[in-house]
């Protein structure tokens, strides 16, 4: 800004711009600058998202959910966190370093419903091998639906579980 004003002053002094034009230009520059500051201030509000911390999953029998997600998707039941009513099922990066977990709970699901629902969760499988993935799902006796690179099954409580490759499910390839 300072350099811009200095150039403008120089032009004014040399007669390249008149007083009126000088004043209008400075005023316009100030307005643009102010708008930019406001935009920057707006952009810094809110939070910076890192990732999913956990998903709270309530069902009639958490042990069935625990067994399903650990055996099918390789999640690990956190040692010491299974108290007979709930368990933490870890996956992804290490806990506290970007890792996520499902909290599987035995809880009545008749709470007052919100007007929104998380109707499914999709998990990424690295090194996707279609045949291997289908094989692993079928080996569990599951009915497998979906398309190449994106398959789905239903868990023991009828919840829709999607499993996908990076190519098939990617926000930037929609």
């Amino acid at each position: 800004m300072e350099r811009f004003i200095a150039g403008l002053v120089k032009d004014f002094e040399s007669g390249k711009v008149g007083r009126r034009e000088f004043c209008q230009t400075v005023a316009l520059a100030a307005m643009v600058y102010g708008a930019g500051e406001a935009a920057n201030a707006q952009a810094t509000r809110g939070f910076e998202m890192i990732g999913i911390n956990h998903i709270s999953y309530s069902c009639p029998d958490y042990t069935k959910a625990r067994n399903f997600y650990t055996s099918l998707l390789g999640m690990e039941s956190t040692p010491g966190k299974d108290n007979g009513k709930r368990a933490n099922l870890m996956f992804g990066p290490e806990p506290g370093k970007g890792g996520s977990f499902i909290v599987a709970r035995t809880t009545p699901t008749d709470a007052k419903p919100s007007r929104a629902v998380v109707d499914h969760v999709c998990y990424t499988i690295a090194n996707w091998d279609e045949q291997k993935v289908r094989g692993a799902l079928k080996a569990k006796g599951l009915e497998v639906g979906g398309r190449e690179g994106s398959l789905h099954v239903f868990d023991p409580f009828g919840y829709y579980v999607q499993i996908a490759s990076a190519e098939a499910e990617n926000a930037f390839r929609r």
Partner: protein
């Protein structure tokens, strides 16, 4: 493989699965085991969830929901269609936090407005009755400080902000859905 067959057979004998289901399951297992190079391959290699790919959120007005999450979490909206839009947790080319594998995309939220009980597609069985619910989703945010976060949420007009355990905050989104935020201190080792 033998253990798996025995397990299925027990289930059949106890009346937990039908004859048809038993045959179908064992046929699928047998042919799959062959295709993947042996029963051991299917049973021991298994799958491993690397990360949440996306969370599908359905509500009466997906634009309103997406705008709220964009505002609170500074998320861009991309790939908008008539009934849905995606909000990735970063920019194109960003690597998910803590992930080294190159074929794991950024997690994203998909906001939709749609019928949750559509008739089954041709050739597909009807959906089973859902007996589970994801009653809230918790997000990890950078530089989380509970008191500062509380003030920030209030300044953003977020409703029903309240403490959650030792390390987090809960709030309610525009459709009454419970949303939790925390830093890294809330994790599988500390929660519960």
């Amino acid at each position: 493989m033998e253990g798996f067959v025995a397990h299925q057979l027990n289930a059949f004998e106890q009346g937990k699965i039908s004859r048809r289901k038993l045959i179908k399951t064992l046929t699928a297992a047998a042919t799959t085991a062959y295709a993947t190079g042996g029963a051991g391959a299917a049973e021991t290699e298994g799958l491993k969830a690397a990360l949440v790919n996306h969370i599908s959120y359905t509500c009466p007005n997906f634009r309103q929901a997406a705008d709220w999450y964009s505002k609170v979490f500074n998320l861009d909206q991309i790939g908008a269609r008539d009934k849905d839009v995606a909000l990735p947790f970063g920019k194109r080319g960003d690597q998910p936090y803590g992930v080294t594998a190159k074929d794991v995309p950024l997690t994203h939220l998909i906001f939709r407005t749609r019928d949750l009980n559509p008739p089954p597609a041709a050739g597909e069985a009807p959906r089973p009755k859902v007996q589970a619910v994801i009653d809230h989703v918790a997000y990890t945010v950078a530089d989380f400080d509970r008191e500062k976060a509380k003030a920030e949420l209030k300044s953003l007009g977020v409703e029903n902000v309240r403490d959650g355990g030792l390390y987090s905050l809960h709030m309610t989104d525009p459709f009454g859905y419970d949303v939790q935020i925390s830093g890294f201190a809330n994790n599988a080792l500390t929660d519960g």
